[in-house]
């Protein structure tokens, strides 16, 4: 999810908390929310303001509904022309592939990958967390070689470069986070 959508989601969730909180308190006997709503409804400006807010929340609801069906992969792809037509492999698919391949290398705990295409080839940027019991230079060298070979063989595109950042040294995988060294 993009940062803008995260902000919208936070606003949306906050609005729902206020709305249902007030509804709950009204239902259990607190009269103040009901009085506030009644006073707002009496003035045309108040009704307009409530309508605008309700419409904005309706738009946000539709936006999040559509987001639940949206594909994770973007629109960028690396393409090559064959005799029977074009073959396009979306960068999101390559990204998932790289993450999977990296996770299979012993010593790698968590992986984030970003792929960018330069013409018919791709550049791979990997950020990872590793175990404390591995040699980081050896591991990163192995990872670079593995990623380059795998992407070349499986996707059929040249890999310009594989940049690596070791972000953390941890004993735990993502599912049981907490003990970073």
């Amino acid at each position: 999810m993009e940062i803008g959508d995260r902000v919208l989601l936070a606003v949306f969730a906050g609005g729902l908390v206020v709305h249902f909180g007030m509804t709950f308190l009204s239902m259990v006997g607190w009269a103040v929310p009901g009085k506030i709503i009644a006073s707002i409804e009496k003035s045309p400006e108040g009704r307009t303001a409530i309508s605008v807010v309700a419409f904005a929340f309706l738009l946000l609801s539709v936006r999040f509904f559509i987001l639940t069906f949206r594909r994770k992969y973007g629109s960028k792809a690396v393409a090559h022309q064959g005799p029977l037509g074009e073959v396009r492999v979306y960068l999101g698919a390559i990204e998932n592939l790289v993450k999977r391949v990296c996770r299979q290398v012993p010593g790698v705990r968590e992986v984030k990958a970003h792929i960018s295409n330069v013409g018919d080839s791709v550049s791979v940027f990997v950020r990872c967390s590793v175990s404390p019991d591995v040699s980081i230079p050896d591991l990163t060298r192995d990872l670079q070689k593995t990623v380059q070979t795998y992407v070349k063989n499986v996707v059929g595109v040249e890999v310009n470069e594989v940049k690596m950042v070791v972000e953390n040294i941890t004993t735990e995988s993502k599912k049981s986070r907490g003990s970073a060294v």
């Binding site: 594909r71 792809a77 090559h80 029977l84 073959v87 063989n153």
Partner: protein, 136 residues
Amino acid sequence: MNPKAEGFPGTDRVGEEDAGDARSLKISDDVVAVIAGVAATEVEGVAGMSGGIVGDITEILGRKNLSKGVKVEVGERDVSIDLFMVVKYGARIPEVARQVQERVKEAVENMTGLNVVEVNIHVQGITFSQEGKGGD
């Protein structure tokens, strides 16, 4: 007709055109899409077709959509096909794509008599499990 044709739903939508030449035959885009979609999913390494929001909602509603992830442009005699698909982890994408192109071209040409000028493949995701079809 190719014996495979009996298994394809939607082939009954092929009909003769009333206007113009009485012998001319107009084949619906949907028919070509179904033929291409079924042929593509038969190739080893293809996990499934990727159909976007409408295709997903259709499947949630319980309708099997055989033309999901297939876009066709049918001309007088020529047809151009775009296939949006998800590939199984471990499969070599260029090899799978080449097989899909060949299989789809053969199936559409045999069953409709149209000339397939191009079969464009869009690999939108890779699935890592036997049952999953949406990538990681």
